[in-house]
Symmetry: C2
Subunit: 314 residues, 2 copies
């Protein structure tokens, strides 16, 4: 391996000068700079990242954990994160937690070992081992995306879930519906609870609190199908269904199709997220759009803000 020493020897300068040429070129005279650069190219030198990290205590890497990489909602957020991080000269280390506490732990430890400068976690649960970091007075280099749990004490980028759910329901009441079914996500997440609160509030304001039926889902297509089955098994069937994400809505469309219910004639369905495939369903899915790329970019902005001290409160 060719090191800074080899370059220094060939250019007949000290390693300090080589280092300066590479990081603060303006502090080196033109002539020397030329010689060093020439040596760098001739030898094909590239600085060793670990040595640099060790010296500077910085890695230029951001750790991102997500419950499910293959979910099109998350993958767009990741894309936004990657884009923003790359623009700022950071690389992204990606971890899939599968909602598994042990995996969260393993990835959390990476931060402790300083394998990354900060952590962005998507979803609502965070590695326990990091609580030691967040307890300190200053903000830890950790931010949350999509959800918001005030108790964690970390900044977060997310939409107004309660307001959005309120709007979705308003839309349905506006169409004249009275009996509305709601398929939620796991209620362990604040996100689902916020949306449920918004939906309930809207139902009450429309005087239809009793006619709203809530069933639980887990954001998968299959749970959308199962939810639809339960909703339509009731004595008074809902004429509209609000799903907390698009995949469950796709499941509802699928089930409706199978039992011969036509959408939108005899059933309205509204989803959440606006994933790319939503508009190519037949019928095209009505949905609440979330700016996934922007959420991703914003988490990066927040995290870098924490790192350089310009963001100081959750």
């Amino acid at each position: 391996m060719v090191t800074i020493l080899d370059v220094a020897a060939r250019a007949e300068v000290s390693t300090a000068t080589v280092s300066r040429v590479l990081s603060t070129p303006e502090k080196v005279s033109e002539a020397t700079r030329g010689r060093v650069l020439k040596a760098v190219h001739q030898l094909g030198y590239s600085p060793n990242a670990s040595a640099k990290s060790l010296r500077t205590l910085t890695t230029r890497k951001l750790l991102v954990t997500v419950p499910d990489i293959a979910n099109p909602f998350f993958s767009l957020i990741i894309q936004g994160i990657e884009e923003a991080a790359h623009r700022e000269g950071y690389a992204v280390v990606l971890g899939d937690t599968h909602h598994d506490a042990e995996r969260e732990e393993r990835y959390g430890e990476m931060l402790l070992r300083r394998e990354a400068d900060g952590l962005i976690f998507l979803g609502h649960s965070m590695s326990k081992s990091l609580s030691s970091l967040t307890k300190k007075g200053r903000l830890a280099p950790i931010v949350n995306g999509c959800e918001y749990s005030p108790s964690l004490g970390v900044p977060s980028a997310h939409v107004d879930n309660e307001g959005a759910a309120f709007e979705a329901m308003s839309h349905l009441y506006g169409l004249g519906h009275r009996h509305i079914g709601v398929i939620t996500g796991p209620l362990a997440s604040p996100l689902s609870r916020d949306r449920l609160r918004g939906a309930q509030k809207c139902a009450r304001e429309n005087g239809a609190g009793r006619q709203m039926t809530v069933v639980n889902g887990d954001f998968s297509i299959e749970s959308g199908i199962a939810g639809a089955a339960r909703l339509f098994a009731q004595e008074t069937q809902p004429t509209a269904v609000f799903c907390f994400n698009d995949e469950m809505a796709i499941g509802v469309l699928d089930y409706a199709n199978r039992i011969g219910k036509s959408v939108p004639e005899s059933l309205s369905v509204i989803g959440f997220d606006d994933i790319r495939f939503a508009r190519y369903m037949r019928p095209a899915l009505t949905t609440i759009s979330q700016p996934m790329l922007d959420i991703g970019r914003e988490t990066v902005r927040l995290l870098l803000g924490v790192l350089q001290g310009s963001v100081t409160s959750p």
Copy 2:
């Protein structure tokens, strides 16, 4: 920051012993081991990754570059990669190249700087700066996924694209079709060329080489729509369309629906990949299934094989 020195001091041993307790515990007596472990927990010590990397010349990270993270095909492969890597104790650094040479370059340099132990690239183009590595006698720690360019000299995990395309076309001819439209991916990629070769071969063997029409796509839904528009603008319209991926097939379904062509009655459509949403389209999409997770896992297996010397030829 608490270092190995602090632990050594507290446990009243040398740093060498602490290091051994953490990496080769069996070489340390039970009593000493206990004392060290106790000190580790009391101080909340976790070893600094950069220092370790510097010393061992190893990072336990795998760099993965992909043309489009948000593409459900790639995101499943990434999930397979992450799963396999995590199981082997490696973390994944993810880069989105957007098919952009400069980004490929930037990520390629990470390997040169030793920010990762190896590279998995999905797609067909590889950073130029890495050619210096692949030219050497031994195999570079680089593997390819999904495609295969013999000229690159790197191992690759991919399906038999030519054979699969042949099968897809066979299926259509079996249904009685004679005029078949084909929407390809960018012909710059060997993958597209392989599939095209398979399709052409099948057409010839069925004596329908002249009735097969080929138009170019870029794997996006929009290019599927555009391709369909061109195919159906011809004097003799195809009665079946074979798309080189599912998203373009979804575009064809969309276009057919808009011009009032019913599928599958008056048009057959077949896609490629079997992404999760394919089966929820109406009508459900017929498609060639690819084992995305397995392709991802296999790239990891190959790469680790190269790293430990058990894989020695592309």
